[in-house]
Symmetry: C2
Subunit: 402 residues, 2 copies
Amino acid sequence: MRIDRPAARPDDIRRHNLAVILAQIHRDGPLTRAELTARLGLSRSTIGALVADLTALGFVEESVPNGGERAGRPSHVVGPHAGGPFVIAVDVDVSHLTAAAVGVGGTTLAKRVVPHEACPPTPAQVARQIFATVASLRAELGRSDDTIGPAAIGISVPGTVDRRNGAVGFAPNLGWRHAEFGGLLDDIAVPVVVGNDADLAVLAEHQRGSGRGCDDVVYLIGRVGVGAGIIANGSPLRGHDGQAGEIGHNVVDASGPPCHCGKRGCLETFIGDNALLELVGRGGLARDGAAQEVFADARSGQEQALSAVRVVAESLGQALGVIVNTLNPQRVILGGSLADVLDIARDVVEQSLDRHALDAPGRTVQLSLPSLGEDSALLGAAEVAFAAVLDDPLGDRVLLPR
Amino acid sequence: MRIDRPAARPDDIRRHNLAVILAQIHRDGPLTRAELTARLGLSRSTIGALVADLTALGFVEESVPNGGERAGRPSHVVGPHAGGPFVIAVDVDVSHLTAAAVGVGGTTLAKRVVPHEACPPTPAQVARQIFATVASLRAELGRSDDTIGPAAIGISVPGTVDRRNGAVGFAPNLGWRHAEFGGLLDDIAVPVVVGNDADLAVLAEHQRGSGRGCDDVVYLIGRVGVGAGIIANGSPLRGHDGQAGEIGHNVVDASGPPCHCGKRGCLETFIGDNALLELVGRGGLARDGAAQEVFADARSGQEQALSAVRVVAESLGQALGVIVNTLNPQRVILGGSLADVLDIARDVVEQSLDRHALDAPGRTVQLSLPSLGEDSALLGAAEVAFAAVLDDPLGDRVLLPR
């Protein structure tokens, strides 16, 4: 129990119970009133009143299912309201951004992929794209009226983010360093949350993907850079400055190759895309898609490509050993290029992990592919945008941008 | 918010508020009614009623302070009740165990150090010592009546612990492997919690030591073995099997020295006591106190000892770099021999950390000595024993062992 929070008051109960019901419908989809009654352990009439509140607030809508063959009155089904509050999620990548309007329940209401003006883009160019894309998504939804805009905007960036102000410390793929990115979005009238891609990806996979039901799960993503998003005890682990999970710059071998961060032998230099490309003699600056070509070659049985993937897989197992010893997760989800490495050379990864992890935690950890595919970070951005709304359905953020 | 917990009910408010008041007095010591009113944001009469409940339950007692020079009626002071519920904490070390009866507020009511029958002892020998020591502590307190025994017993073990059953997976200093330790204590009539020493030490330092006020703190302890206790987001991070923090077996250099765990180049082989002793030519099995002799030599300026400590300090900085990149803690507390390494060669540790950690988190982390000294794990064992009592002051565990 956190003991430094305020005392509870009678009014908190309704607020709390509304939030619990809404969070369960958001995560699990439509539920019958009977299911809600059983899950929450409250009376049917209390559940009825709470559902009526959420309906009036525009979050949910009720429907009566077809009676079917069973006798008795069927329980009403309470589901997300398609016309209810929504958020806008943005995933910033090197060559393009993906944006989506997402409703309660995680439903994508509209989505578009927009190429950047330049590759990589500057923070100002990305901010301009975001303003334009938010406006066009609102128009597409027929919700350009200011009173029914998005409740919040969540943005995923492939770099370290200071979550207090949205500043990007270091985003190697974008070439950003100490970029005051969040400040460029201050003119947006609703709350804007900027997060690290791995942090957001693990949130979405935990909520509705491969990490469902796991209280301790790590999402390890590797492309040019390598980073981890961590859920521990069922909650995001972000650290004091919001920069936990930057394991790409753990020094694996002090006499290893130089890393762009200035150190030598960082994990990225062993399992990042450049390491793979060096191994097949295609080193230099990683082009978009270059690593995918190597994976395609390896899948078609090309010996040099396969052997390169197996070398990376060996180092990946060592990195997983450190994660397992330190965090003892139930599941590790591998994203980006590391998903391909696991897919092609799972045997090598698992044997290396066995050699590098302590007995017990090494035996119980499961290695998984992301079930939300390329959308993990995008849907995670929607989750952080929704968080304030879901935590307090009676708050003033809903439908009423500040 | 954890959404899978039961809904809140009106009765939960009193229970919650009693727990919050009790937890604050347990952590912070005596508080005036006025302070409690301000902290909890409740009315004076509500605070009065809650304090009366806690007084009736035997947890706290009120006193009226000397009026002093200020006008008006002084606010009553609410403090831990010295004759109230207590727990027994045990810290199992290689040559001896330390046991203490601890009351609300973390006050040590009685304490003793008992040498083991053998060194190292077997699990059965330790269990017998614990039975005898608990009985003698109860007798010393004049509380041998079954209805006023300890509310619970917490035990710290220097090894990996399965917290579901108290089994010890691996405790290298004790020479235990897969030891069904917790099962030997089933005859004790009150709840028994067995925990890993670093996990318990970080709990105590977070509650009332060097980690106070930090939501993200790591306690890194090194003697023969090396392990970490982690507080993240203000809560203990234990992992899926309760074995998080076993970083002593992270492979630092795959071609490094063999480790007793069967791997090569584990962190322990670089910063554990044996590494230090090897460096001064006193390798072999570490005797109790052998590392302390090297630290004494280094402090008196002996060149070889000082140089050995600085070599360990360099590796310690690299290990801290991995901790900082992965967990981004606000503070890292160094315990056991690592406290001496920090004390003697802080400059080397910090320079090495700077080279091995990412910019931002590396700049903000603070390296501290434990303020509870050798008692961190013992007092942490008291905290876990108290946890069930504090979480539910109305529960039946208090004063009424099952």
